[in-house]
Symmetry: C2
Subunit: 119 residues, 2 copies
């Protein structure tokens, strides 16, 4: 089984955090045929944080985790904060391959997502 850790910023607004959790469930349904589990984590304001999110994946037997930054632009959170926390997680789990993917705002599929907002 493959694991995706979807990392969002997190919000003081619990509805916004709930929206991320529901999205992770939708992605997992979407990826079910690919034998892929999706766990979410938050940089701020909500749990689990990244290290705890990696713990959850490890507890489910993950050998390889792709960490997807759910961010629209490559700001400091993407280029500095997430990599720093992943370094900590790798020390906790030296036998798990933990890889950070491009951030979601950078993928070609985003153009289609934007157009799908328009009737």
């Amino acid at each position: 089984m493959k694991f995706i850790l979807l990392v969002a910023h997190g919000s003081r607004n619990s509805n916004a955090n709930e929206e991320i959790k529901q999205l992770a469930l939708r992605v997992e349904e979407f990826a079910a045929l690919q034998d892929t589990a999706v766990v979410c984590a938050f940089l701020e304001f909500e749990q689990p944080d990244i290290v705890a999110g990696i713990d959850l994946c490890a507890g489910r037997g993950a050998r390889h985790i792709t960490v997807v930054p759910y961010f629209l632009a490559a700001g400091n959170h993407v280029v500095r904060d997430i990599p720093a926390q992943l370094e900590q997680a790798r020390q906790n789990y030296p036998d798990i391959d933990i890889e950070q993917s491009p951030h979601v705002g950078s993928v070609e599929a985003m153009a289609q997502a934007i157009l799908s907002c328009v009737k």
Copy 2:
């Protein structure tokens, strides 16, 4: 011609703002066959702001503008700040139909965009 005004938060980091401008160009290329123009605007830190972005669309002859919030969650920017600025823009252009779409984080295509981050 249809117009999309892609509204991003904006950043103190000029690279992040440039990323949005490049994305707007990519979306326009993607939508070229649909005779759709794409203009971007920013809530903070970068120009044009929303009212100025609507000005740009109006100057190009827009009769209908779909405003797409380039936000991942329905926080205060989406539910309060963008609508307030659109109200001002509608007063400036009573003959233009200005409509706010769902935010990009809420569309089904986002699941595919997330999965496309993973090799």
